[in-house]
Amino acid sequence: MKEKLSREEVLHVAELARIAVTEEEIEKYQVELKKLLNDVEKINEVKGYDDEILIAPWSHNTDLREDKEGEMLDPKKVIENAPRHSGNYIQVPVVIGESEGA
């Protein structure tokens, strides 16, 4: 089993995870992530189980709540928790560039 991920593999998983990585971190992750991925490979050594899956260990009955209007969080307070906000809006940088706009 190889000991390191390639630079490209690290950049790929960082992209999937939406995490920026520095050059120094890439080198560390090449080894550390490989170690964890080697660990999970052990799943392929397990034999004898059937195809049934268990997504959550939840077999008890539960009651769905009545479908009616209930308590709501105060929208003002929700907005105030956003790092950048203005009035009733959460602010984000431009998502569609002006040149690409309609």
Partner: protein
């Protein structure tokens, strides 16, 4: 003063007779916390606690838990009180609602005195991944108190307060309870509402009580359990968890899986477990050693399922709606990528990256689906064993607490610390840690008692019988000869 050293019955009597007030208990708790200096708390809620204590002065003392201080793990939302998950990502996050368990604690007239330290986003086994530095073990302050509920374990072990809440995704209540010599229960999945618990791995997470003894543990589970409209997975079952405490355990059948006493566990711990088995037999229980399949695969399953679920759950931390956000981002991508690079610590980033990879494209079938299949068989294995036995027991940890300065460079280490406690989360069944003695350095050794779903009361029955028989001195401040 030292009212908190008295039994809960005595404290209750004093409160009822108005010989003391809740504010005396709050004051004592803060004195304890400030003098013990264990870094067990991220936030102390003094103002709120004193105010609540004042309010309670005019109320009738209507339960055993009335007016008693409680510590809450910092991944449980408290309205108007900083809730950080021990992460830079949330070090400015003030929730606008209470978790259901917090509502229940407030309704029971308990007093929250602070938010406890933990591994960042509950990811770790020593609480050393906390953005705020690790809590210390009161039995030896150079040692870890375990994780991820390390702060809750530490403050209970030190006798700062009587009650704390933890959360357990892969052993995070039971393992620190073992390292610090306290009682910690991971209830059945669905027993306690997860509404307001900041999600790590939703199919494994469960909130539970951490206390110095079995009876108080059962009392706290009475308060926090029950159905919640806000958590679809919460079970519609109510019961008194103290009801079997004090009852005979004669004839109860106990199984010890051979894996739990294999060479991965320190000899000293196995020896202590075997001494405890003799005590259980003296109490009239029978103990058999059994083979159980898949237990040795639990860490692998956990790595796949917990990291996969975490990568999905933690996608919400995007720098837009709450929490940390990168200053002056270049564009929207920089908001996401930059915020997450700055906000998350090393352990969390590693787990999100591996989890994202495991869920991407074909890998979902290759790893995640396979893990869920084996998980089903593991659950079946427990179901089968409980046809013949009342309990499964074993050591909670493979070693006792280690040094805070031990290396952290092996990314697999924190998973291996939880090798004996993870199967319980996989199967969704209840498990409790209780202290059974000490190692040669006088560090606590813990044993876990596992039972079938919704059999917490039976676990408390066995645990209290054993606790009474062992009669250990479990106060690290007690000094003098310890009853080893």
């Amino acid at each position: 003063m030292k009212y908190l050293d008295k039994s809960i019955i005595e404290i209750n009597k004093l409160l009822k007779e108005k010989k003391i007030k809740p504010i005396d208990l709050v004051e004592e708790a803060y004195e304890n916390i400030e003098s013990s200096d264990l870094n067990a708390y991220i936030t102390l809620t003094k103002e709120e606690a004193y105010q609540k204590a004042k309010e309670l002065e005019d109320k009738e003392v209507d339960s055993l838990l009335f007016g008693l201080p409680i510590a809450v793990k910092d991944n449980i939302c408290t309205k108007g009180v900083l809730t950080t998950c021990a992460s830079h990502m949330l070090d400015n996050f003030v929730p606008i609602y209470d978790a259901t368990v917090v509502e229940k604690i407030n309704n029971a007239n308990m007093i929250i005195i602070g938010k406890t330290n933990m591994d960042e986003f509950a990811m770790g086994s020593s609480s050393r991944t906390s953005y705020f530095g690790a809590p210390h073990n009161p039995w030896d302050t150079n040692k870890i108190s375990g994780g991820s509920s390390g702060g809750s374990a530490s403050t209970i072990a030190a006798r700062d307060v009587l009650f704390a809440l933890g959360s357990d995704t892969g052993g995070s209540i039971r393992q620190p309870a073992s390292y610090t010599g306290i009682v910690g229960m991971k209830p059945t999945y669905g027993r306690v509402s997860r509404y307001g618990l900041i999600a790590f791995a939703s199919s494994l997470d469960q909130i539970g009580p951490m206390t110095k003894n079995v009876y108080e543990n059962a009392l706290l589970l009475n308060v926090i359990s029950g159905h919640d409209d806000k958590d679809l997975t919460s079970a519609n079952k109510e019961e008194d968890f103290t009801r079997l405490i004090g009852k005979d355990v004669k004839g109860m059948k106990i199984a010890i899986p051979n894996f739990f006493v294999s060479d991965i566990v320190d000899k000293e711990i196995i020896a202590k477990l075997k001494e405890t088995v003799k005590v259980l037999e003296k109490l009239g229980a029978t103990v058999d050693y059994v083979d159980m399949k898949y237990l040795d695969n639990a860490v692998t399953l956990y790595q796949i399922i917990a990291m996969g679920e975490a990568s999905s759950n933690l996608a919400r931390f995007d720098g837009i709606r709450y929490g940390h956000s990168k200053e002056n981002p270049e564009d929207i991508k920089d908001v996401y990528f930059g915020t997450r690079a700055e906000g998350f610590g090393k352990e969390v980033k590693r787990r999100i990256m591996v989890g994202s990879y495991l869920l991407s494209g074909e890998n979902a079938r290759e790893y995640f689906y396979k893990a869920l299949s084996i998980r089903d068989d593991m659950k079946q294995e427990f179901t089968n064993i409980f046809k013949d036995y009342d309990f499964v027991i074993g050591p909670t940890t493979t070693t006792t607490a280690y040094l805070l300065t031990d290396p952290m460079d092996d990314p697999s280490k924190s998973f291996m610390d939880d090798v004996l406690v993870i199967p319980v989360n996989m199967a969704g069944i209840p498990g409790l840690n209780m202290p059974i003695g000490f190692d040669k350095n006088h560090m606590p050794i813990g044993m876990q008692i596992i039972a079938n779903s919704f059999e917490e009361a039976k676990i408390y029955q066995l645990a209290s019988a054993l606790e009474k028989e062992l009669n250990l001195e479990l106060n690290p401040n007690a000094g003098g000869d310890n009853n080893d």
